[in-house]
């Protein structure tokens, strides 16, 4: 672990050179190759390889402990892999970048538990996550342009919180918080969205609307959705990846995956 951390630090200096414009000439937005992560001997990810195409909506399922959240941690820079490579487009090596750099490069993440800024208003939540120059010097003197205000108003409408713009975000219902976090992601204008259990705790109606939203986002953005709610997955999924014990067990359409004997075994336990 420590030697890995050291190499990550040494290469920090090069990260700015390596990053840059997202290059998707081969139609692929994210490559994971042979990723392994272990925590105190427990292999959370075991030679995981995965490819997300540009504009794709990919659903990732798997039993508890299959490594779904760890995979997101690796992509977003929260966890450094022991082995393997993560490429964003053809050129950007995510394993050498910090969380903030990865986010600026165009990867947005929604956490399992909604994390918003509870003490800020809904409007401020969107303002802070908006794509902008996020260096200290700039935020000291920045003010919102009318185009930016419009963008925030548009997102407010999309997430149906336009009546709550000046409300403190901590007062929102659970489902509204989930939507606010999705809105915050969209304000970042990410190329790739990672959504960890986005409909947990939502009412049926909210779940349905969320599904419609994701389907409408696909194409413009690439989405990776981790979910336990199989009914929800069935509605939105085109391609599904099943994770098990830290690696890919099966991949394909809903029917393909459902009829895969390995998947049946894992889920039903023979």
């Amino acid at each position: 672990m420590t030697s890995n951390a050291a190499t990550a630090k040494e290469s920090d200096g090069f990260s700015r050179v390596a990053s840059g414009e997202l290059d998707t000439t081969h139609g692929v937005v994210l490559y994971l190759e042979d990723i392994s992560v272990s925590f105190d001997g427990f292999k959370a990810l075991n030679k995981l390889s995965l490819q997300i195409d540009i504009g794709e909506l990919r659903c990732v399922i798997g039993p508890n402990g299959a490594g779904k959240t760890t995979m997101m941690d690796v992509i977003t820079g929260k966890t450094r892999p022991d082995e393997g490579t993560v490429f964003f487009g053809q050129t950007i090596d995510l394993t050498k970048m910090s969380e903030a750099e990865i986010s600026s490069a165009g990867v947005g993440r929604k956490f399992q538990k909604p994390t918003i800024f509870e003490q800020h208003t809904v409007f401020e939540n969107l303002e802070l996550s908006m794509k902008a120059d996020k260096r200290v010097r700039k935020t000291l003197f920045s003010s919102l342009s009318s185009a930016q205000k419009d963008a925030i108003a548009e997102t407010l409408k999309l997430i149906r919180l336009n009546d709550s713009a000046d409300r403190v975000a901590g007062l929102l219902s659970h489902g509204q918080k989930q939507w606010l976090e999705i809105g915050m992601l969209l304000m970042q204008e990410p190329r790739l969205l990672l959504l960890d259990e986005p409909v947990a705790g939502m009412s049926d109606e909210e779940t349905e609307r969320t599904g419609e939203l994701f389907v409408s986002l696909a194409g413009k953005h690439s989405l990776v959705v981790v979910e336990h709610d199989m009914a929800f997955i069935e509605k939105i999924a085109r391609k599904i990846t099943v994770l098990h014990e830290g690696s890919v067990l099966a991949e394909g359409s809903m029917t393909q995956v459902q009829n895969d004997p390995k998947v049946i075994e894992v889920y039903l336990g023979r």
């Binding site: 969380e99 903030a100 986010s103 994390t115 918003i116 509870e118 800020h120 303002e127 996020k134 003010s143």
Partner: protein, 363 residues
């Protein structure tokens, strides 16, 4: 241009806030000087030197409280070592004040008494150029700022936070205190600096100089408050508060939180250094006791009593706690620490938002 400044003033405070601030300004720059300098000493309206110094001292503390509120109340970084930055500013300016004594010390030598006593023949390197006001004024800013920057860089980059950071800052100020207790460090050992005679070649103990220092401290306090208010109402301030509440989300929004914390941390230390430099000529002494861990904890108590994240609250807290301290240490000197502990417990239990929370509830 007019509308821009109008927007800014509206952003900082409402009409009532500006009115209160103007009243405070009048009290500091007009009423106090009149009552102290123009009203004869026999008059019941005369304000004595004791009160001028006490209020001046409390205003220095209030500046420190605002500085701590910036990092604790807004960025969620609880420092229990801010007394160190205050003391460093005090020592930096104290060097200049020591040089201003000239040959009027006990030993009638051109060097400070403690150096003569230690039989030093020349100034150690730390004292280079210390007879220059501007050099020492620069040190007041650079020394605390640099220490805070280096410490903060390593602490924030290694993601040290919460109680661990608090403990390290305590250790830092304690270590510095031990260092400054040593004569070899070159700052007068446990006696520190005292017996100042002049500042800018003007006698320091006259009522006019005292009042000038008082007014300058008042101006610094108001400027600090407005600067802090400007920072915390900007997008930068909203990012800080977001770091306090959900740092990871802020990172995933694309902000490099280390830079944000480092900026506000260093600024806070610089403000403390300036407060220390204003404190020393008014109180007339600086010694390593200012670096004691208890001192830094007391600063946190001022902020907690006044109300975190309110800027005005810490000023009130510094005033209330130090007012109570002045009263207690004269009336019942042996009970002050008990009273302080009791205040802290009561505020934590019943007034989590401090005095400001109470005032807000009343409204």
């Amino acid at each position: 241009m007019n509308s821009v400044t109008g927007g800014l003033s509206r952003r900082l405070y409402g009409p009532r806030g500006w009115a209160i601030l103007a009243l405070c300004g009048i009290a500091i720059f007009v009423v106090m000087p009149l009552l102290n300098l123009a009203v004869p000493a026999e008059s019941p309206f005369h304000v004595s030197a004791y009160w001028v110094t006490l209020f001046g001292k409390i205003m220095c503390y209030a500046i420190v409280a605002v500085a701590l509120d910036l990092v604790w109340g807004y960025a969620g970084i609880l420092s229990l070592g801010h007394g160190l930055f205050f003391a460093l500013g005090g020592y930096a300016f104290g060097m200049y004040l020591m040089r201003q004594i000239g040959s009027d010390g006990q030993y009638r030598q051109p060097m400070p008494d403690f150096m003569v006593f230690l039989d030093w023949k020349e100034f150690p390197w730390q004292w280079w150029n210390s007879d220059s006001f501007w050099w020492c004024a620069m040190l007041v800013i650079v020394v605390p700022g640099l220490l805070a920057f280096v410490f903060g860089y390593f602490a924030f980059r290694s993601r040290v936070k919460g109680v661990y950071l608090s403990i390290i800052t305590q250790a830092l100020t304690f270590a510095a205190m031990l260092l400054f207790f040593r004569n070899a460090t070159g700052f007068g050992g446990n006696n520190g600096f005292t017996d100042f005679r002049r500042i800018l070649d003007i006698p320091i103990a006259t009522p006019q100089t005292r009042m000038a220092l008082f007014a300058f401290t008042g101006a610094t306090l108001i400027a600090t408050l407005l600067l802090a208010r400007w920072l915390t109402t900007s997008r930068f301030g909203r990012v800080l508060a977001a770091i306090r509440d959900a740092e990871q989300r802020v990172m995933f929004c694309g902000y490099d939180t280390v830079h944000y914390k480092l900026f506000v941390w260093t600024l806070s230390a610089v403000i403390c250094g300036i407060a220390g430099a204003l404190y020393v000529p008014q109180v007339g002494i600086i010694n390593p006791g200012e670096m004691s861990p208890a001192n830094s904890i007391e600063i946190a108590i001022w902020v907690a009593v006044g109300g975190r994240g309110t800027l005005i609250g810490p000023i009130l807290g510094a005033g209330l706690v130090n007012g109570a301290k002045s009263f207690f240490t004269q009336a019942f000197p042996e009970y002050w620490l008990y009273a302080l502990g009791l205040i802290f417990i009561l505020v934590t239990l019943f007034l989590p938002q401090g005095v400001m929370g109470l005032l807000k509830k009343k409204q």
